[in-house]
């Protein structure tokens, strides 16, 4: 959970969530809506610059987050680039019956670039804003109370359960529980059973403790009030309008 650690340690931690969301989600929207590769590359470069230089997200965290979808993008690109029985005019190279087409490669490059650009924008938000701030923001945006509450509980229990599953797995491995495929499957079944049971017990104990204190509505904490920074919003708006006008002119003039 490198992203979560980066978010809590971020220099942007005390900026208003709305400010950061405006910049990151605005850029994400431009990246997702644009059909031009030029715009994708520009958004990717800009998001990388802001993330690494201004918001000082650790480079290793940023790289590992950005490469998380790499396997999917690679397989998807292969599927897009190759075909069987393509037009000769469109064929770049052939391996047996499989043809690599020019249009397919172009499509794969566009989709991959768009994906990495959008990912960079998402990471800019996720690695500067802790989940609790994001949930408080969603609550202000009138996302149903019950869902925000449950999401908050999931976040609260997540780390304890991940720790538990890690230590159970270590104990199983020390007892040769992962020596063969058959034993590994058995171990994982037992591991998940233990984790679910632990989650349950924990929830029930929390419930008993809270019921004794008159808990009926939601588990709220006082959010830290962060002031909107006019300078930050102004610069974000400037950057976004620049990107939007570039994207529009790219679409009108038919840039690649």
């Amino acid at each position: 959970m490198r992203i979560d650690e980066a978010a809590w340690a971020s220099p942007w931690r005390h900026r208003a969530t709305g400010d950061k969301a405006l910049l990151a989600l605005g850029m994400l929207l431009v990246a997702a809506l644009s059909t031009s590769r030029t715009v994708s590359v520009l958004v990717l470069a800009l998001a990388a610059g802001v993330a690494l230089v201004v918001a000082r997200i650790p480079a290793r965290t940023w790289l590992s987050a950005l490469s998380a979808p790499a396997a999917f993008v690679a397989v998807g690109s292969v599927a897009l680039a190759v075909t069987i029985g393509a037009d000769a005019a469109d064929t770049l190279a052939s391996v047996g019956a499989v043809d690599i087409t020019r249009s397919g490669v172009a499509q794969a490059v566009s989709a991959s670039l768009r994906s990495f650009a959008a990912m960079a924008c998402l990471v800019l938000l996720a690695a500067t804003t802790p989940m609790t701030d994001l949930l408080a923001w969603l609550r202000r945006l009138r996302v149903p109370e019950a869902m925000v509450d449950i999401a908050g509980l999931v976040y609260r229990m997540l780390f304890a359960l991940l720790d538990a599953s890690r230590s159970v797995r270590e104990a199983q491995a020390a007892r040769l529980g992962y020596r063969s495929g058959r034993m590994a499957r058995r171990s994982i079944g037992m591991l998940l059973g233990a984790v679910l049971l632990r989650a349950w017990t924990r929830a029930r104990r929390l419930e008993d403790g809270l019921a004794g204190r008159g808990y009926t509505t939601s588990l709220r904490t006082l959010p830290r009030q962060a002031e909107t920074s006019p300078a930050f919003v102004g610069i974000s708006a400037l950057v976004l309008s620049g990107l939007v006008s570039l994207s529009v002119s790219a679409a009108l003039r038919g840039w690649p």
């Binding site: 997702a32 029985g85 449950i150 999401a151 997540l158 349950w200």
Partner: protein, 228 residues
């Protein structure tokens, strides 16, 4: 298999979000109703969501040597029911996007549709249809079908977004199906086996909780006495 952030063209991303929305809204209503009736259910639902996240973060040793992550859709549908799974699955997918950079916000709708709607409902239908079969076969089939349906829906989403220049949708669809089959078919089998072992483990450790969820009939008197 999560579709990466920004990978789908905007219109497709919006259309899948619209397709998933009614199921998620229905699930959210169901969750809100559960919580209103039984305030304690809130904590159990939180635990279920956290469990689904941990489940999907575990690396499975696969038959073909490739490692992949379980989706948790099938087990979740059997344990908690598909409407609740639509709501919890959305929360879990959002967390995976924000904490692990798996999936994304623009593709959240498409991923919710394949993993939190289609998979769980298919699992639930199979689980219901096989009500006469032994529990092991029911759980295995339900979980394996959930994974296979999820994988087919994902391939469909990608093929609709990127149809082949010459062969159209069908050609692109078979290609995506074929490429993802390498990891997804072994995953369905392995996740099915593990789900059977998981339910088996819960049956010995937590029969009361399972009965409360409606997965297991309460043990008859005789068996209870024999255990005591």
């Amino acid at each position: 298999m999560h579709i990466a952030e920004g990978y789908l063209p905007p219109l497709h991303a919006a259309a899948w979000t619209a397709a998933a929305a009614p199921f998620v809204i229905h699930g959210t209503r169901e969750v809100a109703r559960l919580v209103r009736e039984r305030p304690g259910a809130r904590l159990l639902l939180g635990a279920a969501g956290a469990f689904t996240f941990v489940l999907s973060a575990i690396k499975l040793p696969s038959v073909t040597g490739s490692s992949s992550h379980p989706t948790g859709a099938g087990v979740g549908a059997v344990l908690f029911g598909p409407p609740v799974m639509a709501a919890l699955g959305t929360v879990v997918l959002l967390f995976q996007a924000l904490l692990l950079a798996h999936g994304g916000l623009t593709t959240l709708g498409a991923n919710v549709f394949s993993m939190a709607v289609a998979g769980p409902w298919a699992a639930y239908a199979v689980y219901r249809l096989l009500s006469r079969a032994s529990s092991g076969i029911r759980v295995f089939t339900a979980v394996a079908v959930a994974d296979l349906v999820t994988y087919c829906v994902t391939a469909t989403q990608l093929a609709l977004a990127f149809p082949d220049a010459t062969g159209g949708f069908a050609s692109a669809w078979t290609r995506f199906l074929g490429l993802f089959a390498v990891t997804q078919i072994p995953l369905a089998v392995v996740e099915g086996i593990i789900a059977v072992l998981l339910i088996g483990a819960l049956r010995t450790w937590a029969p009361d909780e399972l009965a409360e969820l409606g997965v297991l009939q309460p043990a008859p008197q005789g068996e209870e006495a024999a255990r005591a």
